[in-house]
């Protein structure tokens, strides 16, 4: 009875938070944790063993393509023929964007706009911003189809809801989907980096190396129920369950810096020392580290992301840190793919991009004090027209 109440409350909270996600049916691979003492809780219903195995394998795969341009590389590519889409230029390129509601999407969208400018073959680039609303994106796609697009790029707001709209578009123009996926094979290609399991595992494995056995680890997540974030935590859980680390808490921060800092301060008070911080996204990593500083405690081993504020703190304070990335350079690839498709050249499908991790060894390549604090360093944008001014840099 109590369990049901909690479930109802959690469900209500999710509805209130307005998060839309695609909850898969319970899957048999999700078994109870082997080591119940690890404190990592139950395996997420989003965990799919085959996907996990696939992503972990891709982490060590060698990419084909130019080494200095990871956005043109592909992991284990299978090429598809696009001769039937070949046509003479110049082209009208269209893009249905889920939204620009966070710094990651803002940096990414700038990358895409600049990439379009690199190619004179495009005579126009029409963009519809869905403002993170499924219904708006569905009508956006319909509107764009009436505007003479030669190719359509879609960054779907949610997977299941956008699938029919993408299928409709496929019947009229070549479609390229990137970032979040759709439940149909009709797009010419689907572009994204390796994914959430690889991201989560990179951070968790770093902690199992750097934190002494028996050390306290606090896991900070943004919110439950979103597939890309659930997979990150699911992979981290696998690594923690295998380790000797003690996961003292798994908390949700809503991505809020003040809340993150309060949670970390409370845990420091409660446990005295925290030796490692794992995060499913790095936006509040600086706040988490500051909580240690303000409490007069040594910095823990910490997992962040490639935002400049965190990289700068890492370099200045000599943190023991790692930054898995979900690179924003993936926003360049769909434009390149569209051009190849319209010229009838083969493209990889699916197009899996490499997903690098920033470590002590390569940190100095990515820190750039002239860029704004929320800029994502793994943007592959320094060679693009308008850099750094368009990205807010000096």
């Amino acid at each position: 009875m109590r369990k049901r109440t909690v479930a109802v409350l959690a469900g209500t909270a999710m509805v209130l938070a307005g998060c839309s996600s695609d909850v898969p049916a319970g899957n048999p691979a999700a078994t109870a944790s082997a080591d119940a003492g690890a404190g990592t809780g139950e395996t997420s219903s989003f965990f799919v063993q085959a996907d996990y195995d696939n992503e972990i394998a891709l982490r060590t795969a060698t990419a084909s393509g130019p080494a200095d341009k990871p956005w043109e590389q592909a992991l284990n590519p299978t090429n598809v023929d696009t001769a039937k889409y070949k046509k003479a230029g110049p082209y009208n390129l269209c893009f249905s964007n889920a939204g620009v509601g966070n710094p990651w999407r803002q940096v990414g969208f700038k990358n895409m706009q600049a990439e379009v400018k690199l190619h004179p073959e495009f005579k126009s680039f029409q963009v519809a911003d869905a403002e993170s609303k499924d219904d708006k994106q569905i009508s956006d796609i319909n509107d764009l189809l009436g505007k003479g697009c030669d190719a359509l790029i879609v960054s779907p707001n949610t997977t299941a809801t956008l699938t029919p709209a993408v299928e409709q578009a496929c019947a009229k123009v070549p479609v390229i989907v990137f970032d979040r996926g759709v439940n149909t094979k009709c797009p010419v290609t689907f572009i994204n980096p390796i994914g959430g399991y690889a991201f989560g595992a990179a951070g968790a494995e770093f902690l199992t190396e750097k934190v002494k056995p028996g050390g306290n680890v606090l896991a900070l997540r943004i919110l439950p129920g979103v597939d890309v974030l659930e997979t990150r935590w699911a992979a981290a859980k696998v690594a923690f369950d295998k380790s000797q680390l003690k996961v003292v808490g798994v908390e949700f921060t809503d991505g809020d810096a003040a809340k993150t800092k309060t949670i970390v301060s409370n845990y420091l008070q409660r446990f005295g020392t925290i030796d490692g911080i794992w995060m499913d996204a790095g936006a509040t990593a600086v706040a988490a580290a500051e909580a240690f500083e303000d409490a007069g405690k040594p910095f823990p081993a910490i997992v962040g992301e490639d935002q400049q504020d965190f990289l700068r703190m890492w370099q200045d304070r000599k943190l023991t840190a790692v930054a898995p990335t979900y690179p924003t350079y993936q926003w360049r690839t769909p434009v390149i793919a569209a051009l190849k498709i319209l010229k009838g050249e083969q493209v990889p499908s699916p197009w899996k991009l490499p997903q690098p991790t920033i470590t002590d060894a390569n940190l100095s390549q990515y820190v750039d004090p002239s860029m704004p604090p929320l800029h994502y360093a793994m943007c592959g944008c320094s060679d693009l027209p308008g850099y750094p001014g368009e990205w807010g840099g000096k």
Binding site: V6, V100, N102, P103, Q106, A257, S265, N266, A295, P372
Partner: protein, 331 residues
Amino acid sequence: MTRTDAPTGPATLGQSRRGRWGAGSIWPVVAILLVLLVAVGIRQPDFYDPPALLAFLKRAAPLIVLAAGQYFVIVAGDFDLSVGSLVTAEVVIAARLIDGDPAATWPVIAVVLAFGLLVGLVNGLVTTLLLVPSFITTLGMYLILVGAVYTWTGGSPRGALSEEFRMFGRRGIEGVPWLGEIPYAVLILLVLGTLAILAMRADFGKVLLAVGDNPRAARLAGGRVAGVRTIAFVISGGCAAVAAILLGGFGGVSFQVGVGLEFTAITAVVLGGVVLGGGRGSVVGAMLGALTLQTLLTLLNLLGVAGALASAVQGLIILAAVAIGGLRART
């Protein structure tokens, strides 16, 4: 039930009318706070080390300031639902204007305070002159601020706060014997709390309580009803600006910083024994309500209760406090 000794100020007005434990009294919240503090102390004895206690007060300060501001509005019979989005707007504006430049700190603090007061003034004038119910006025202001900030920033904050700006919410006077560090946030809280108590003891406070209790009677008695109600909104806006400076300093730039704060502040005020609809309750009660809420959240964390349940607990508190308040008012 009725005490006969003369009220020494508005803080005791409710008590004298309704008795020590009646509606508007601060004693229930004091009792709850003491129970929670004992519980926290048992679970975490070093909570009472002066530095730990001051660090706790530092984290509680923004909510206490917000609750104090919300008190003035609620006791006059109104609501201010715009404070959460105002806090977000202020932090985002400050980050964009400062953009990491220490020299911009003080001018931007002035802008932040002025903007908070201005938003309060607009809320007050729309409510009193255009006779729009405050619930609607401030809901509209909430939506305007959310939309304007989103449009202005494209959905993600830009720029950065300077260390000088963040100092107020993050640092303090260091090296104080025994206490360790005295956070600036606690000092700011003490000053604002004192000012709030003095304001409620002045004529302004008496008129404000009268307005909340019975606006018509207050008007007939010669009170400047529209004036004090407007000032109450201005105070709430100003408090939101201060809370924004403290929260931005504590946590840094974030788009989520103010989300839900209006309801947390209202919960705190209600918990402090202030009656929704106005006329009864003290500002000390409202501030203690905020402190109690923060203590409760700390205790829930110490007990390992998941964060998701915290908002459910908050909802229960609002329902329980209003229901019990209603029962007490009837007896």
